[in-house]
Symmetry: C2
Amino acid sequence: MPSPTQKKQALSPTRLRTRRKLVEAALRVMGQKGVEGTSIAEIRAEAGVSFGSFYNNFGSLEELAQEVFAERAMGVATELDAIPPAESDPAIAAARVQRRFVELAISDPVWGWFLLHADAALPQVEATFRKRVRHDLDRGRASGRFIFRSLDTTVTMTLAALMAVMRRILEGREPRSAAADMVELLLRQYGIDREEAARIAHPRRRATLRG
Amino acid sequence: MPSPTQKKQALSPTRLRTRRKLVEAALRVMGQKGVEGTSIAEIRAEAGVSFGSFYNNFGSLEELAQEVFAERAMGVATELDAIPPAESDPAIAAARVQRRFVELAISDPVWGWFLLHADAALPQVEATFRKRVRHDLDRGRASGRFIFRSLDTTVTMTLAALMAVMRRILEGREPRSAAADMVELLLRQYGIDREEAARIAHPRRRATLRG
DNA sequence: CAATTTTTTGAGACTACTCTCAAAATATCG
DNA sequence: CGATATTTTGAGAGTAGTCTCAAAAAATTG
């Protein structure tokens, strides 16, 4: 037994392969049926390993789900950090990150659906994204670019918008262009005026509005 | 057996009392554990009736959940329709309805939690509220008061905001005042400018903003 | 390659739930 | 009140899933 202070006892290649099968199977199955709607039996079957192997690697379904999220989320974070090499305008930076986040999910629906289900089931998911959004909005406000009363409420609404619009697009109920429309509405929330919000959210399109 | 065309064969008082017990038990238990996280066994126990009586009244948990929602939602709709006796400004009307909606839920947390869980589990819930929000926003846009690109996306974001802010307040993570802050941000989304959004969302408070 | 350690395997014990139905209780009615 | 119809009851059969552990298989090591 590894001592509790030892964070990672190097895992044998064999064990690592089994873990990998489970993590990948979990991403697929949980993406389809939700974290709570999935049984260990299903994941074990999809992964092609035995019950024993599941328990040899994870203590519960939730632990496995957390591992799936942790692995993928790290990749997404790296991707998002790489976008604006050095963008000084918080509005442009936020717009790019938000838009890319939604587009990542819709270009990889298995991940997108997993994320939506995990968001409802794992507190860690909301906490992770909340931290990042809060940081971005706080900087924008500190610089005077964003104007709003409550940081918490603005963060809550931003996260809710990201997830809801992502879901609607994945369901095929809204077009991909909804991502840019969402960004425009979020910028307005942050106190950016209508014309500028349109320009930033739709860099190429003419900023015409019905209304 | 009543013919399928007959919508409602009048239910006997005895049967009605059993239904009532089940509906009220379901509201409580599902509010706490979620629609999907609740078993028939739990509700039956909470209601103090037998398994047989459950099946004599409802075909499934989901059917019972729908009945709970249908009954309560009707009451809420009536309440919301009664608010602005004749408010012509769509912005003021929307602000009042949205704020009252959140306040209804937080003043009756059992209902609030049921609603949040049901929103995730029953398609009918989202459909019901969506219809109403869509109607209100569409009128506001037609009158020229609201300006936005996509009605669908704006509706999606509004519903997401209502549910998310309601949840955060019920969790005790945001103050009750978050409801008004939310309304202010939603009005900005609809194209109302900052000063006016502040005035409408916070009728009594001085409209001072940090930023 | 034989001994040792690690990992996998899956049948089986257990738990939790769903759904049924014959009998009992209750309500209704002439 | 006695006869009939309605409703409730709960034990029990069936299903689906969790978790365990002794034995088998595979990997590692001297």
